[in-house]
Structures are given as C-alpha cells and as structure tokens.
Symmetry: C2
Subunit: 358 residues, 2 copies
C-alpha cells in the first residue's frame, strides 16, 4: 500500500502532497499532533485514509502541522478513540461513528443505516442538507469535532454457505453482522455475531457461523470467505454506505490558526472522496475476480426477505429516534432528506444505470 500511496500522491490530481519540502522557517514552528485510530497499521481502506489525511495536512501546511498516525492499541485501544480525542490524550482520531452508538444512539446515522442513504446521498446530506451541523451538535458533549474522512462505499448483504429461498432460511442461523444491519437480521430470526474479521473464515468452516457480512468485494476478497461460503448476496440493504470519520479535539481545533483549520477540513473532505473512488475501483476489480476466477455465485435476496427487512428497519430507526431528543432530530433530518432525494435518485442515477444496460 505504501507504493500505491506514493504513486497516487506523486502522479495524481493532488500531486504535490508527497513532494512537500517544508521551508525551514515553517519547520521551526511545526506543531506536532497525534492521531489514534481504530485500525491495524496501514489497514487497506480506513487505515490508509488515516495515513493520507496526515500526509495531505503536512503537504498543504508546508510541514507546519505534522501528524503521527497510531494503530489501534499503540496509544489507546480501538474502541477508546472517541474518549482519547475528547479527553485531550491526543489531538485527532480516525474511526467510525457507529462504534459510539452505545454512548449516543444517533451516531449510527453517520456511518450507515439499513435502507438508508447511498454514499453520494450521504455526502449531500452532510455537506448540503444540514447533516454536519447536527453531527457537530451530537459530538460537542464529547469534546470533539467530526469530519467525514473516508468511505468504504455500498456494502454487500453477506456470504452464505447455501442459497436463501425465503425468510424461513434465515431463522435460527448464525450470521456475522454488526450495527443496525445486524439488528435487522436478528429481528428476521437470525442470530447476529460480532466475530472479528480474522476469525470469520474459521468460524464459517467450523460451523460457528452460517453466514457473514463484512464490507464489499474489494475488502472481502482478502478474507477468502468464498472458499466456504460461495453464495454472495446483495443488495446490501444492511449497509448501503460506509463513511469513515476523522475526529479533532475541540480544544485543539479552537486553538488552531484559521488557515490550518481550513487545511484540516479540506484534507478530510478530499480523502473522503478519494477513499470512495479507490474503493469503487477495487470493488469493480474484485467482483470480477470473485466471479470469473473464484466461481462465486452472485445472488439476490428473495423479495420476501427484502420487504420484511425494510419494515424492520423502519421500526429500528424509530426506536433509535425515541432514545433522546437529539437522536430524534438527527433521525428526522436524515429520513426527510432520504425521502426527498429518493424521487430524484430514481429518475437520475437509477434511471441512467438501467438505460446503460449491459
């Protein structure tokens, strides 16, 4: 991945990022920050987004703001990123909002929700539909300012060992599935599990799991799940988006010069788009490899399952909204935006994809 990053930064649209030579005057005043993450070192996807955000900030600031990226466990464990940034242990973090839904139920809306916004719609809601202001409000009590800082794109519904003919085939099975999507599977009669990525394959092999969702083809191909669970199901109603988040300590943010604030914000925005672009390319290549080389069977969930899942998702989101007044505000903003944008997405993106055909 190191080579890829260098090649992209040297040759791509944002070409100057790697070639920065900080003027000596600037280097003398350099501010040094630490960024903790929920990822292993340089994990393809989110881990590389964290690295690239640091590189972008260094390049744009001429080295005036230097950020060291730390893997999960190096400074704090994966699931203590929010507390570490908010508590002032470090200045930045790179993680995913849905990890914090136990602390604030509405956080889930900022990663992905079942039958929710697609990646482009999600970015539109955050940037132009009021989503960012509510996100700021949601995270202010934790002492952090949130930014979009990556995206794993539309996900798949899951890998299964056998075909699913209807709802009956979901009842009683054990499936690795996280977040609100996992809750949908639970209400359809399955038992969701939070198996760690490195243990999914062996759990499927031993029968501890009957199915598993992870992310999309570009990520999933590395796990080798197709060897024991060759039926790959879509649509990914459970996770139609996958925004990564970059956190800045509010104290550090407030103390930052205005130009460095603009640089941090733009580094995150550019990385969110680039990460999705890179994932689109990887997903397209990996899907073809899975089908052509590994003989994966691409399957579509039966209508019965999709319809039942859609109904459960409405109930689940309403329950999240009922947890507190701010969660209700986020829920209402998100679902109103989704309902309004749906009509346009149907006649625009969905219609041109259908027209393009084979």
């Amino acid at each position: 991945m190191k080579n890829f990053t260098r090649r992209h930064l040297a040759g791509g649209a944002l070409g100057a990022a790697a070639a920065v030579a900080a003027p000596s005057v600037a280097r003398a005043q350099a501010k040094r920050w630490r960024m903790v993450t929920s990822w292993p070192k340089r994990l393809p996807g989110p881990g590389m987004s964290a690295e690239r955000i640091a590189e972008r900030i260094s390049a744009m600031s001429g080295g005036r703001l230097q950020i060291t990226v730390h893997a999960a466990g190096e400074v704090v464990p994966a699931f203590e990123v929010l507390d570490a940034v908010g508590g002032g242990v470090v200045e930045m973090g790179h993680t995913a909002a849905f990890y914090w839904q136990g602390k604030q139920p509405a956080a889930a809306f900022y990663t992905t929700v079942p039958f929710g916004l697609t990646p482009a719609e999600h970015v539109a809601w955050v940037e132009a539909g009021g989503g960012q202001a509510l996100w700021d409000e949601l995270y202010a009590p934790f002492g952090v300012k949130p930014f979009m800082g990556g995206n794993t794109g539309v996900c798949m519904g899951g890998w299964f060992r056998t075909t699913l003919k209807g709802l009956a085939d979901l009842r009683g099975i054990k499936i690795r599935s996280l977040g609100l999507g996992g809750e949908v599977y639970r209400r359809l009669g399955a038992t969701p599990q939070t198996t760690a990525p490195g243990e999914i394959l062996t759990s499927l092999q031993s029968g501890v799991l009957d199915g598993a969702e992870f992310v999309g083809p570009g990520t999933d191909i590395a796990l080798g799940l197709y060897r024991v669970a060759p039926h790959y199901y879509g649509p990914g109603f459970n996770k139609p988006n996958g925004t990564g988040e970059c956190l800045v300590s509010l104290a550090a943010w407030t103390g930052l010069e205005p130009d460095l604030r603009a640089i941090v914000a733009h580094a995150c925005a550019a990385e969110a788009t680039f990460a999705l672009s890179e994932m689109e390319r990887l997903n397209a290549e990996a899907l073809a490899a899975l089908i052509e080389r590994h003989k994966v069977k691409l399957e579509t969930f039966p209508d019965e399952i999709v319809a039942a899942a859609r109904g459960q998702a409405v109930d689940i989101l309403a329950e999240v909204a009922a947890r507190n007044p701010l969660a209700k505000k986020v829920h209402d903003s998100y679902t109103a935006f989704r309902d309004r944008v749906a009509g346009w997405s149907r006649v625009s993106i969905r219609a041109v994809l259908e027209a393009r055909g084979a």
Copy 2:
C-alpha cells in the same frame, strides 16, 4: 447565492474558509492570480464553484495566494478560457472540458458522454482509474493542468411540448441539445440546436424549438420551460454526469511552492464534491416543486428510443476515438473502466436503490 456561500463556509464542514484573517507577514508576500470563467458573474452552480475555489485557496493559504474571479467577457470571452490560461494571459480558468472538443476530440470524455459514467464513477475513473494522468497528457500541449472543480450531476433528457411514443416522434423535430448527446439526437433524426440558455423559453414558445435539454431540475426550474414544455423526460442518457473543470497555467503551476500546489489541488477536489452535493439537494427540492407545484409530467423515454440512442452512442464514441491516437487512449481507458465498474454498480448502487423502494 452570496448569503448561501457565506452561510455554508461559516457553518459547514469547511467552516474556516470564510473566517480567514491572513497574518500580516503572509499578506505582504501575497501572490495575486486571475481566474477567467465561461460563466456569468456568480452563476448558480458553476459560477459559484469558481468563487468558492478562490475562497478555499485564500483560506487555506492564509491569504498567500489571492485569486480574483472574472465573469465571461470581463477579460476574455467564454470560449477563450483555455487559450487565455494556456497562453499566460491569466493563471487560472473555470470552464467545462467539452467546450474544447473541437481542439481535442477526447476532451468531451472529461465532461460527460452519452451512456457514460455516473458522477461517482467518473470521479473514481479520474482519481483512481488512470483518468487524471490522461487528462494531464491531453492538456499539456495547451499549456494547462486540469482539475475537476465542480459537478452538475446527472442531467435530464429534455423538456418536450408533447409526449414521445417512439422514434418517429423524434424525427424532424428541433431540440436544444449540446455536445455528444446532441449528436445522438441528430442521428435519431432530430435537429440539435445550440440555443443560449436565456433564449430557450422564447424559442419553445415561438416554435423555433420543439424540445430542449439544459441540465437538471435544480437548474432548469429557473428557466420556466415547464410553462410551455411540461413533459420532462428521463433518463438523461445524453448527459449522465456534468464535471466542471478548473485549469491552471502550467507555467504558473510549475512556479508554485509545493504547499500551494497541494492547496490548489485540494480546493478543486473539495469543491467538486461540494458542488455535486449542493446540486443533489437542489435537484431533489426542485423536482418535487416541479411535480407538486407546477404540474410537470415526469416521463420515461420509450425503450425503442433508449435502445436506438445506445447504439448511436457506441458509434459516436468510436468515431471520436478514431480521430487521433491520444483520443483512442482516452476512449479505451474510459470505456474499459465503465464496462468493469458497470457490474459492480448494478449489484451495489442500483440494487440498494431498488431495494429501498418507495
């Protein structure tokens, strides 16, 4: 629009952009550039993208790079932006690549092509699929470096006074339609016209035009075409994307400090995403207003028209590719990316939109 921009920049994710107070030391060394555009002053959409790119650069550079934005005709006419930037008359430009297809046929690929890439797929091709390197190669002979710097999103097929039942209804009619999409209409028997936006309504009223495509609902609503041509057709096979481009003179680019280069690149990347987000919101709102308030009839092109158009588009793109070796390289890169990403888009974005239903 001024109020909107200030509100966004003050309150949004990129909040620091408007609040910049350049340190006096930096202001003393400020570099001043001019940006010429193909747009009227502060035109909603592309004109505001040009303004915001200048604001973003000023904010991130702490005022070290200040850019004055000029409307079409102020310094050079709308269609001389490429020459003015490449010739060193000014340092930057904001325009659209398909204006230059007469000088270099493959330029059209960098705005939109019939049955081509959707906005997210287009960004993925440019950022992660080899598109940017070919774009750099395509524009180097003109002395400019290109960036994505805006997006009007998926467009509509056109406004028509009557319904279209089949191919016969297109024959002999006059339709305002530009670029390669206009060429598709021509080969289906219509006569494409390049009517200026301000004259479309009166041309439809007087019968000089029978139909007209412009952009999408958020832009089109201002022209009032629904008053005389209430049948609004999709899918927008003719323009499934609408990338705006920001040009930098190669001489100016080469002379720029590395940190300012990174800042210019990131300003364009962030604006490309923000412009699309803003257009998605506007399109969703305007489509609802057109249907609910103005009683516009949303229509779908008959299959016969879409199928014939798809065939014509393949021929037209092949003819562009045959014009010169570099055009062929761009064509082959673009269509190979489209063909590979199509499989993934079908099981990801299209499938989740279908599953979301009403």
